[in-house]
Amino acid sequence: MIEIEKVHKSFKDLEVIKGVDLTVQKGEVVSIVGGSGSGKSTLLMCINGLENIQSGSIRVDGTEVHAKGTDINKLRQKIGIVFQQWNAFPHLNVLENVMLAPRKVLGKSRAEAEELAVKQLTHVGLADKLKVFPGKLSGGQQQRMAIARALAMSPDYMLFDEATSALDPQLVGEVLDTMRLLAEDGMTMILVTHEIPFARDVSDRVAFFREGLVHEIGPPDQVIDNPQKPETAAFLKSVV
């Protein structure tokens, strides 16, 4: 369970997150939609401690992310994150990209890590690209590789930050399909996305983010099909 309580986050004088409350249950898929600059990416970074927070608390399975004594590297092992920009390690081939963290962080043997990596890469449809370097992959393939790389750590949670926004339109589908499979497998996920139909399809709840706050949250047939707040309706109109 991810519990976000009254979180405030500023970059210098700029307050980006202004008291967000959000709880994500085990097995739940929550989508976050909202305008650019509303603090969606920042919130995801706070959840796995890539960014600090000014006040409030974020707990993952009861562990306080930003507490002094927390072993943040240990915590991150169970929170996978996929960013908007493809961030394959360019000096490693696809297989090595996926094997790196299981080997170095989980201390798996080469054989174990390879087996794990091949399994995940097969899952995302890259079984025939194991020895290829990321520079030779399409954006969609790189993004699927990034998903496999995160899954190889056997995370309990997956965070997606506009995983398809930087892709050519014809490549969006393959990445969304991969994410959909993951949701159907029961992975607990938080997705920041502009793909509204996709969000409606896979989410248990949708949160509309506005100016650093959760402006409206509820099941997709409420927030997307029948928004209660005029700002939510206006935003949805602007992205469709």
């Binding site: 890539l50 929170i79 996978g80 961030n87 390690f89 000096h91 081939n93 790196l100 520079g135």
Partner: protein
């Protein structure tokens, strides 16, 4: 003028070539040791400069001195300092140390910009996988920075090789000094300097060919 043992010759002999090659060997040794020392220090200082930019600003100023003062002045100054302080170092050691520090000052900048060239995204990606700061540095930042820094480092080693010529001012007989000695005797500056130049060229050629091989291996991945 007389020579003992064999007849004095006013043409370029096999012995002269041998003498030049001995000088070239000294040049190579000087280059090797100063690059080893300079790279070791440069990598350490460059990492510090990139990872702790604020705290190491004074280090940057300090290294700027070595980058801006002509190397010849550094050789002569250090050599006199050595006598004043009473250090019992050979001229060769002095040569390696002064050139090594000079190399370190440039190497620091090469390493620093290499490290800074690694996109922040990649570092976030590795940290988000649970890698520690040091694992990220070791397995992601360093390999990528090495690729960026390598061509600059190779250039540095070639220019260090040429800069070794300046150690003759503190009494070491390396390639250029050896050729001057022969010029004085046989009065054929063009011939001798061409041969010395050719030796420098051949050394550089080997070094840059080896470097190109390394870079090609990396580029195949891009």
């Amino acid at each position: 003028m007389f020579s003992t043992g064999f007849t004095f010759s006013t043409s370029f002999t096999w012995n002269d070539l041998l003498f030049l090659l001995q000088g070239a060997w000294v040049t190579l040794l000087l280059t090797f040791w100063s690059m080893l020392l300079g790279t070791f220090m440069g990598v350490s200082c460059g990492l510090l400069r990139a990872l702790l930019p604020r705290a190491t600003i004074p280090l940057g100023w300090f290294l700027d001195i070595f980058r801006s003062v002509p190397l010849l002045i550094q050789f002569v100054l250090f050599n006199s300092l050595k006598s004043i302080v009473g250090l019992d170092w050979s001229a060769f050691t002095v040569g390696c140390v002064v050139l090594g520090v000079y190399v370190a000052a440039f190497c620091t900048e090469i390493v620093r910009s290499g490290v800074l060239s690694v996109p922040q995204n990649l570092r976030l990606a590795s940290r988000s996988l649970g890698m520690t700061y040091w694992q990220d540095l070791r397995y992601v930042v360093m390999p990528l920075a090495t690729r960026v820094a390598f061509p600059g480092w190779l250039n540095l080693s070639l220019s260090a090789m040429k800069d070794t010529a300046l150690v003759m001012w503190i009494g070491i007989i390396e390639l250029l000094r050896a050729s001057q000695a022969i010029v004085t005797r046989i009065q054929e500056p063009l011939l001798v300097l061409c041969i010395a130049g050719l030796i420098y060229y051949l050394i550089s050629l080997v070094v840059s060919r080896l470097g190109a091989q390394v870079e090609k291996r990396w580029q195949q991945n891009d």
